[in-house]
């Protein structure tokens, strides 16, 4: 298991938030900064509440699948039965099966 002891995000002070804002490359006036402090405290509370008791092995959220490779043409045989690296004339490729590609957020079947 991992992560269950991760400390929650602290509800940062305005000075700490200013430091984060500077690091993010944002230029905020005092009114915008006050709005951000209000919003960030609410987001930080949501982050702090989120359970993190998942195991290292249980990491499917970021999994994705590539589409299967296009069919490889069979090697061309020379008259005396040896294979050659010279490929056969190119075949028309099958359209990619994009149905197999899922983003992290679209997996819909439960895991056992």
């Amino acid at each position: 298991m991992a992560g269950s002891s991760v400390p929650p995000v602290s509800l940062a002070s305005p000075a700490e938030i200013q430091s984060l804002v500077t690091r993010a490359g944002l230029m905020l006036n005092p009114g915008q900064m006050a709005d951000l402090v209000l919003a960030w405290r609410q987001v930080a509370a949501l982050i702090a509440e989120m359970p993190r008791d998942r195991g290292f092995e249980d990491d499917m959220a970021l999994a994705f699948r590539l589409p299967p490779p296009a069919p490889t043409p069979p090697p061309t045989l020379l008259p005396h039965g040896e294979a050659t690296d010279n490929p056969a004339p190119p075949r028309k490729r099958a359209p990619p099966k994009t149905a197999a590609v899922r983003t992290a957020g679209t997996r819909t079947t439960p895991r056992s």
Binding site: G3, V9, I17, L20, V21, A24, G25, L26, M27, L28, Q32, D35, L36, L38, A39, W40, Q42, V43, L46, I47, E49, M50, P51, R52, R54, D58, D59, M60, A61, L62, P95, P96, K97, T98, A99, V101, R102, T103, A104, G105, T106, R107, T108, T109, P110, R111
Partner: protein, 468 residues
């Protein structure tokens, strides 16, 4: 071709009348453009009305209709006037996302959904108001005013598909496209007393729809009835290789699939959602109790069902939306910050401070919630709840940090990646609509539409329209 246009028509009724040559697409479009001219200055549903294009499309539809055999014109959407939330790209027609940032944006291509609707013969009336870039709330510091609720112009439409909800409820369009990342189709459907479907992710293409948070974004229909939404889904659903989340599922005939009775259907009432997690008003509780009775009368097996707390889904949803929306807008926020509305900045800027580890923790937690949500669907065909605690609040009561300070029941379906339909569940004593939310298992879109359709038929909620 007759030209007498009734003031309010459902999409399905209009399709039947057009199909039987009792209604002219040209006259229908002309009547709706006239109604928009009269009513929309009060409702603010439209950012742009494309009248000339609409009339040209209506004339083309009528020509197709007249050239075809009696019932064989091929599409129920032929000559049907629709409008699109202004985050759907429309070739040659300004698409602003209700923002100064895109005020001069004229796309070269239609969104895939728009393309499908045009190909089916639908008529585009114009582009509809939204919360800026489909997030936030009603803003008064943007070039266009926020939409108003047709049932009471002092009230909020819900959002972010605010113009879509207002236009359909006011009878300015027979259907609309909305988008839903945390409830943006279903909240305006609830407050405006219409039907709105957030489809299973991957069922409807998002190509050409300006993204908010791609992990959770869905595109879907909004219309007067569930049947109307089913007719729209017959055209909207389908694999699109250009949307990486699109899934090639076997086609469904939604409009046909909603017909069979609900006898024997297993309905789970998410009672804790509306009694404890987001406590509902007395009017909403009364509507939910009535809904349970209606489902029993329709032959359903009705039991209580349980899902994880609404707050769990909302935490995950808010973190993902904030982080992804900030990432989408980072470059522009750094250069044109003051061109965004204050409410947008409040909702999105906090995303700049979210650590990658926290964002990934939210995505991992989401997979747990997807699995936990799938579990009750072993015992139930649909789960039912109230999408909002009460009827539409006053616009003046809306706080800019509303999205964080109150949990949204609707976000459950986004995080859980399941289809969810809101229909009009009933009315308050003062005549404001109350929404009813029906969730299904992944790919159970036809089932939730079927349940919504029979509920509407049984309760007669579709007989009442706002007085404008």
């Amino acid at each position: 071709m007759k030209s007498n246009v009734r003031p309010f028509l459902s999409l399905a009724d209009a399709a039947r009348l057009i199909g039987s040559r009792q209604l002219s697409p040209v006259e229908l479009t002309r009547a709706l453009l006239k109604r928009i001219e009269t009513i929309d200055p009060k409702v603010n549903a439209f950012l742009l009305v494309t009248g000339q294009r609409a009339m040209a499309a209506a004339r083309a539809a009528e020509k197709t209709l007249m050239a075809s055999r009696a019932t064989d014109h091929g599409s129920k959407l032929l000559g049907i006037p629709l409008a699109f939330k202004d985050i759907y790209e429309t070739a040659g027609v300004r698409t602003t996302a209700h923002s100064r940032i895109l005020i001069d944006n004229v796309p070269k291509r239609d969104a895939e959904t728009v393309r499908r609707l045009r190909e089916a013969g639908a008529v585009m009336l114009g582009k509809l108001a939204t919360h800026e870039f489909a997030i936030g709330g009603p803003a008064t510091d943007l070039p266009w005013p926020p939409a108003r609720n047709p049932w009471d112009l002092r009230r909020f439409t819900g959002g972010s598909s605010s113009g879509s909800g207002a236009a359909v409820a006011a009878g300015l369009a027979l259907g609309a496209l909305g988008s839903d990342t945390g409830g943006s189709i279903r909240l305006p459907a609830a407050y405006c007393g219409i039907a709105g479907l957030k489809p299973t992710p991957g069922l409807v293409s998002r190509r050409g729809v300006i993204p908010l948070a791609p992990s959770l974004d869905t595109a879907g229909p909004m219309a007067w009835t569930a049947e109307d939404c089913a007719i729209l889904m017959d055209v909207l659903a389908g694999h699109d290789p250009a949307d990486p989340a699109s899934v090639a599922v076997p086609p469904t005939e939604f409009a046909r699939a909603i017909e069979p009775s609900l006898k024997g259907l297993r309905v789970g009432m998410l009672r804790r959602f509306y009694e404890e997690d987001v406590p509902a008003s007395p009017a909403t509780l009364k509507m939910m109790a009535n809904a349970a009775r209606v489902f029993k009368d329709l032959g359903c097996i009705v039991r209580d069902a349980v899902l994880p707390p609404v707050r769990d889904y909302n935490g995950v949803g808010r973190i993902i939306i904030s982080a992804e929306a900030y990432a989408m807008h980072e470059a522009t926020l750094k250069t044109r910050l003051s061109d965004y509305s204050r409410v947008f900045r409040i909702r999105v800027l906090a995303g700049a401070l979210i650590r990658a580890a926290d964002y990934i923790a939210a995505q991992r937690r989401r997979t747990d919630l997807i699995a936990a949500t799938a579990e009750p669907f072993r015992k139930f065909d649909v789960l039912v709840c109230a999408p909002t605690a009460d009827a539409a609040p006053l616009l003046s009561e809306q706080r800019p940090d509303e999205g964080f300070s109150r949990p949204f029941v609707t976000t459950v379906a986004n995080v859980a990646a399941v289809p969810s339909l809101v229909v009009c569940g009933g009315f308050t004593d003062t005549g404001l609509p109350l929404g009813l939310e029906i969730m299904g298992p992944a790919w159970g879109d036809a089932t939730v539409l079927r349940v919504g359709h029979h509920y509407e038929q049984a309760t007669g909620t579709r007989d009442r329209r706002p007085q404008l």
